[in-house]
């Protein structure tokens, strides 16, 4: 069973329906005990880093998350669920994250441009993945596949070995990480049509 952590941040229904579409039952839960009992865990999230972290803390999710990751259960972070795994974020001041992946979450630089047009922030829309390591979660996803992004901050891991994919937007940034059974994406698989559903399916089959 897949548990999708509900801590009051964002559209969880699409993640749940995405798993159902590819044949996996998923529950949306606000109960940390359910997270501890799940085979696979998904940490989604949109909004501000600080608020998300605060909600994880008040919801009693921090210890359960750290524990299931430590135990090596398949874990998928999406968007803010990727950023929260890092040491700290500079969004609205400096805020501590879960510190599972050493590194920082920083904003896209001001004034980026390409081909004479400025690059808007948020980075919003479909952009390509460039792969840096193999993971079963990306089986069947080709180099250059377009996936859907919407974010103003990106992650900078200290250890380059965790970088699964990068994407170019003014700079080349880390768009997904993987480390053993821990996978997290800056993009939204649940909003990336059939390629995104393929990633959810791969995650559902990971052991």
């Amino acid at each position: 069973m897949i548990a999708i952590i509900d801590y009051g941040m964002g559209n969880l229904r699409s993640v749940q329906k995405g798993f159902e579409k590819v044949g996996f039952a998923a529950v949306v839960t606000a109960d940390p005990k359910v997270v501890l009992e799940a085979e696979r865990i998904v940490l989604p999230g949109v909004g501000a880093f600080r608020d998300c972290m605060r909600n994880l803390e008040t919801g009693g999710f921090v210890e359960p998350i750290l524990r299931v990751i430590r135990e090596g259960r398949p874990f998928l972070g999406i968007c803010l669920g990727l950023q929260l795994l890092f040491t700290e974020s500079e969004e609205f001041g400096s805020h501590q994250g879960l510190d599972v992946i050493p590194g920082r979450v920083v904003r896209f630089p001001d004034g980026m441009s390409a081909s004479g047009e400025k690059l808007p922030v948020p980075h919003m829309g479909w952009n390509q993945l460039s792969f840096h390591c193999q993971s079963p979660v990306f089986a069947g996803i080709d180099e250059g596949t377009n996936v859907y992004f919407v974010h103003s901050y990106y992650v900078r891991p200290e250890d380059a070995a965790v970088v699964a994919t990068t994407t170019g937007y003014g700079i080349e940034f880390c768009s997904a990480i993987c480390k053993d059974n821990l996978v997290a994406t800056q993009f939204h698989p649940e909003k990336s049509q059939e390629k995104g559903l393929q990633i959810l399916k791969n995650f559902g089959a990971m052991s």
Partner: protein, 253 residues
């Protein structure tokens, strides 16, 4: 490299997609969920639902349309029309929408935009601006209530203000062009694109594929919204993208 987005817009009332000319002469264009699925298969980059019913019953119908659509298509959904409270936003997001577009409520209470962005994030807070050119001048005025009521607010200034309040995207509709098939208002769109650093969606007036090209190139929009050229099968989204790619616009095929 980020691709340029094509966004079909579905005007919905009473649970049906309709299309009119400048909000008049509404024609039935079909079931919203079926049309959403069709655009999904054609490779649309996002979908926008615009609730053109003002009543609260209409809003319940809209929540249902969003919920059913989000079960069938896995792409970004924006919902606009009648979004006035934090609770309206929460209902739409819980139903499966990714973004809401705020229009009239932003004009009457700009702090609502700030509240929405703080509560749900800028990424889901779209501010819709309906603008009309001031006759004889290179200046545009913001209108509310579906383009019927002038506000005296300058559209370019307003876009900048909404960005500073936390809007993550601007959906810009030229009320002069909407429904005319004469093409986007390029000077208006360019002026807003140059004034803000968030993405701008061009809307109002698409009649040909060349109009989409102009929206991306001459106006510099991040996304182009269109309704009638797709609803009445004049072109598919895929045809539009093939045309744009052949002309050098970076689109996802």
């Amino acid at each position: 490299m980020l691709t340029k987005r094509i966004i079909p817009c579905l005007d919905v009332t009473g649970g049906r997609v309709v299309k009119g000319v400048q909000f008049l002469e509404l024609r039935d264009a079909g079931d919203p969920v079926e049309i959403a699925e069709m655009y999904d298969q054609q490779g649309a980059d996002e979908l926008t639902f615009l609730d053109i019913t003002a009543s609260s019953d209409g809003r319940d119908t809209m929540v249902d349309v969003v919920r059913k659509t989000a079960e069938r298509v896995f792409m970004p959904l924006t919902v606009g029309g009648g979004i006035r409270t934090v609770d309206d936003i929460r209902r739409m997001l819980n139903a499966g929408a990714d973004k809401v577009s705020i229009n009239t409520a932003a004009v009457f209470n700009p702090d609502f935009v700030r509240e929405a962005a703080e509560r749900f994030g800028s990424q889901c807070t779209v501010v819709a601006i309906d603008a009309r050119q001031v006759p004889g001048e290179q200046r545009w005025e913001v209108y509310t209530h579906g383009g019927r009521k002038p506000t005296g607010i300058d559209a370019v200034e307003w876009a900048g203000r909404m960005e500073s309040f936390g809007a993550g995207e601007i959906l810009l509709t030229s009320m002069d062009r909407d429904g005319t098939k004469d093409g986007y208002d390029i000077p208006l769109t360019r002026a807003i694109v140059d004034a803000v650093s968030v993405p701008v969606i061009a809307s109002g007036g698409v009649g040909t594929l060349e109009h989409l090209y102009d929206g991306f190139t001459a106006a510099g929009a991040s996304a182009c919204l269109a309704a009638s050229i797709f609803h009445f099968r004049q072109h598919t989204v895929r045809e539009a993208k093939e045309y744009l790619r052949a002309k050098g616009v970076n689109v996802r095929l």
